[in-house]
């Protein structure tokens, strides 16, 4: 009896699976076009899965081994089962192979089940608690039905009773594993995940690459939507990406806004996008909700606006404005989903179409438009901080080795200390540098992250035009946000430069022995990795090696390097200022205090401002440039500072 029923069951499940796949694909195809190569993507997929994805998964060794066993066992078992039981190819060797595969899958499934016994809060419950049982059921039933094929048991053992039991087991197993894969069950992640890897919108991320710059909106095309209003405004491969989420909650655990009790949970956000894609409400979401936002009140559909400013849509605007764009979620996501892209896409709609940038947002954007800086200061005062420093101007020199990009920190008294320190370092090393002075404008970072792509592009184009007048080898800046934007986001608008963060450049100067440095005096030091330097640009080493050169042994925080926790200052978060239970900089300051360090070294004006905003007593905050400038030993050369720099300047024609 099994011999007749099994194939029927299996082919029915497979047929339904194909039907589901077709339905799912048509859901994705509601999205807008995206320039990815379908064939090349598919060809690259196995490597992306085995190498790139596993590099992320391997950070959690337990889960990575479990997944290899379970998934590997399942894929093998499923293929063999189709051959053996579906097509009835009862070969003994195949039988043994199938037995082996089910045993492997069974072992993996046991570990999945174990993790589920006391699951961390980040994991989803509901259907996800059912999954290990289904995995066990699939592997056990196929193991037993295969025993006769391998010749270990006679075919008729156990009679009707066992046969029925087995049939039920197989039915449950394949319902979850085949049918559920394309009809929205937990196994959907395998199907969508594989295709998501193949057709990822940032193919550069694979093979050790990095791709973190936001993608430019085409403002010239009059009918291209300005950002994402409804789910179908995403590109089709973004929609596919949302579907790939395994609800592992790694993003949730890393998200500073979630930890601060702001109404954002990146995992829930991705699931909300899935709800929007297929239509429905969020009552059945089985994970942690947005802090302070009850489940079941929000719903959406593919053609409905995601944010409803008058009532309740799928997602509240505050959720989108809570994000600091720190990319911690993207960094942790084993499915390589791009949360930040999605969030900024939706912000773009709110700002460009609705004019609904919250709190100080509108004012900051107006200032950027009218004065080229977010504070609304007179642009003529951009160089006031250096009135006594005799800074060489590009407009006079026309060319220099290094263009020092000052950034908007020029208007901030605290950051001016950092800038002056860095100038001191540059002069001590005799670097041939110059600044743009009043020709410099805000890089556009904040405008872009607040969703104002138009203002970003306007600022960027004008900066690119200023830069195009002069010859320089490299741009060096103390601001990781300007650094990131100049390096990774101006390219699409025609500005390609070699850009360095000042820590990288100082590291180079030290390696070239152009600085005479003493030792840091003044207690123990920890270092905070700025998101836009670390996760966005992969620079973790240079700041540490600079600190080492002045005799500092960094007392590392638990969350440092690629796991560094955001200071709360990115993505315009201090401007939109969505309330939570605690403040992100306070949480980060606690991380800092835990190391017992007396001073935290930073490399970003935003981080400096956020940390200095934490009430005392707390560790002191100093920029790496300040620490290096303090450790400078006056070179034995007879000349004093000014003449050292001057002759260099004069030699240039």
């Amino acid at each position: 009896m099994l011999d007749t029923l099994l194939p029927i069951l299996m082919f029915c499940a497979l047929a339904l699976m194909l039907l589901g796949a077709w339905r799912r694909v048509s859901l994705w195809r509601q999205g807008r076009p995206s320039p990815v190569s379908l064939m090349r993507g598919l060809a690259a997929m196995p490597r992306r899965y085995l190498v790139d994805l596993h590099r992320v998964v391997e950070r959690d060794t337990y889960m990575s081994r479990t997944h290899v066993a379970t998934a590997g066992g399942f894929v093998l078992a499923a293929l063999l089962a189709i051959i053996v039981h579906g097509f009835g190819l009862h070969h003994r060797l195949l039988g043994f192979a199938l037995l082996g595969a089910t045993v492997l899958m069974f072992c993996g499934a046991l570990f999945v089940a174990k993790r589920r016994r006391n699951p961390p809060a980040r994991l989803s419950k509901g259907p996800w608690d059912r999954l290990p049982k289904s995995l066990l059921m699939f592997s056990v039933s196929f193991f037993v039905v295969t025993l006769p094929v391998a010749g270990i048991l006679p075919g008729d053992v156990g009679g009707w009773g066992l046969a029925l039991l087995l049939l039920a087991g197989v039915a449950w197993g394949i319902a979850e594993m085949f049918f559920g894969m394309t009809w929205g069950g937990p196994m959907k992640h395998a199907f969508a995940g594989a295709l998501h890897l193949a057709w990822h919108r940032r193919a550069e991320r694979f093979g050790d690459g990095r791709s973190t710059g936001l993608k430019a909106l085409d403002l010239e095309a009059p009918d291209a939507p300005l950002g994402v209003e409804k789910p179908t405004d995403f590109t089709w491969n973004q929609l596919l990406g949302f579907d790939a989420c395994v609800q592992c909650g790694k993003c949730e655990a890393a998200c500073p806004a979630f930890a601060a009790g702001q109404p954002l949970n990146p995992k829930k956000l991705i699931q909300d996008m899935v709800i929007g894609l297929a239509g429905g409400n969020d009552a059945d979401f089985a994970g942690s909700p947005y802090p302070g936002v009850p489940l079941g009140e929000h719903s959406g559909g593919p053609h409905q606006p995601i944010v409803n400013l008058q009532g309740k849509g799928l997602v509240d605007a505050d959720t989108l404005w809570s994000c600091t764009t720190c990319r911690a979620c993207v960094e942790e996501c084993p499915m390589m989903i791009e949360h930040v892209d999605a969030i900024v896409d939706m912000r773009r709609h709110l700002t460009l179409e609705q004019g609904a940038t919250p709190n100080k947002g509108a004012e900051v954007l107006d200032n950027l438009i009218a004065t080229d800086n977010p504070g609304g200061f007179n642009p003529g005062g951009r160089l006031n901080w250096a009135a006594d420093l005799n800074l060489p101007l590009m407009s006079e020199k026309k060319q220099a080795d290094v263009l020092f990009w000052v950034g908007d920190g020029a208007f901030d008294m605290r950051n001016q200390r950092t800038l002056r320190a860095f100038v001191k370092v540059l002069k001590a090393a005799g670097v041939d540098f110059a600044v743009l002075g009043q020709e410099e404008r805000d890089s556009g970072d904040v405008a872009r992250r607040l969703g104002d792509e138009a203002t970003f592009q306007r600022l960027a184009r004008r900066n690119i035009a200023s830069l195009a007048q002069y010859r320089f080898d490299r741009i060096v800046t103390c601001d990781p946000h300007s650094f990131h934007v100049l390096k990774n986001e101006y390219g699409a608008l025609g500005g390609n430069y070699q850009v360095l963060h000042h820590s990288t450049y100082m590291d180079e100067l030290i390696a070239d022995k152009r600085l005479t440095l003493g030792q840091h005096k003044g207690g123990s030091v920890t270092y905070h990795d700025p998101c836009y330097l670390g996760r966005y640009n992969g620079e973790y080493e240079a700041p540490r090696s600079v600190l080492k050169a002045i005799g500092i042994e960094v007392k590392e925080m638990e969350r440092s390097g690629f796991r560094s926790r955001c200071c709360g200052g990115g993505g315009g978060a201090p401007i939109t200022d969505v309330p939570g239970k605690q403040r992100i900089p306070d949480m980060r300051m606690n991380d800092i205090k835990e190391t017992g360090a007396e001073l935290v070294a930073v490399g970003c004006p935003q981080c400096t401002a956020m940390f200095e905003g934490v009430v005392e007593p707390r560790p002191h905050v100093k920029d790496i440039a300040e620490l290096v400038a303090d450790a400078l030993v006056d070179a034995p050369a007879p000349a004093t500072q000014k003449p050292v720099a001057r002759p260099d300047v004069l030699e240039v024609h």
Binding site: P222, L226, T351, L352, E353, Q354, G355, A356, T357, G361, A362, L365, D366, I369, A370, T371, G376, F377, N378, P379, D452, E453, A454, T455
Partner: protein, 258 residues
């Protein structure tokens, strides 16, 4: 509560940012648009007299309006006649303006001249329109130090707003780009004043120094918040000549006139 049947027209001008002088939506005009939007919603009409090519005008459209009528006028024309004719023909019931332009003459006379030409009432410092029933609007007028005066005004009327009116909503790029500037050819009237007068940068007005002889914090607080001046005298039953005489005497005393 938008009064959808009310025919509201907001007059807008090109402003200048106080720090950089870049063209922008004028602060007070934008507030007038905001008030208009709250009253008439998307039915609000925008009217500008000047050059339809000026991009800064789009910032008003970015507040969520589909179009703006632009009466084509050269830079130094007297726009009052053209505006007045248009408003009368358009059947406007409520005309909103800022109090003073940010560029050009900036005399703040336009609302007055317009009201005079149309022979309509003028409310200055409009803060809120509370209701409109049977052709009569109940409005709040802003007075110094946060005070409000409730007025009843018969439609149609002109109202100017200052910084007491609600803050203007954000201007969004999408609607600003899509919106239409609809030019209209109208008669041009030379500005007699500009014909003969010369423009020069304004000097800041002299401010009377308040000498505060307070000893305690409380007294200082009182002095700072008290009404500008309680002194002086009220002159009644005088001929115009006597009044003028009194004013000139005062100005002499204050050394404004020498």
């Amino acid at each position: 509560m938008p009064h959808n049947l009310l025919n509201v027209i907001t007059l807008v001008s090109v402003g200048a940012h106080p720090v950089t002088g870049r063209a922008r939506r004028a602060e007070q005009d934008a507030r007038a648009v905001e008030l208009g939007l709250r009253l008439a919603g998307k039915e609000l009409q925008l009217l500008h007299a000047g050059d339809p090519q000026v991009e800064a005008l789009r910032a008003y459209l970015g507040m969520g309006l589909a179009e703006m009528t632009v009466l084509q006028q050269p830079p130094r024309a007297d726009v009052v006649p053209a505006l007045g004719d248009y408003l009368r023909d358009a059947g406007a019931q409520l005309v909103l303006t800022g109090s003073q332009a940010e560029v050009g003459e900036g005399s703040g006379m336009l609302p007055y001249l317009l009201a005079e030409q149309l022979d309509w009432p003028l409310v200055v410092g409009l803060a809120e329109v509370e209701s409109v029933t049977e052709g009569v609007a109940q409005v709040l007028q802003a007075l110094p130090r946060g005070q409000r005066r409730r007025l009843q005004v018969r439609l149609p009327f002109v109202a100017s707003v200052d910084n007491a009116a609600p803050e203007a909503r954000q201007s969004a790029f999408g609607p600003a780009r899509r919106g239409q500037l609809r030019p209209q050819d109208v008669a041009v009237v030379e500005d007699m004043l500009l014909e003969e007068a010369r423009l020069q940068p304004a000097r800041p007005r002299p401010k009377r120094l308040k000498v505060i002889k307070a000893k305690t914090g409380a007294e200082r607080m009182k002095a700072a918040t008290a009404k500008a001046s309680a002194g002086g005298q009220v002159l009644t039953d005088m001929t115009p000549e006597q009044g003028a005489e009194a004013i000139v005497t005062l100005l002499r005393d204050e050394k404004v006139l020498r």
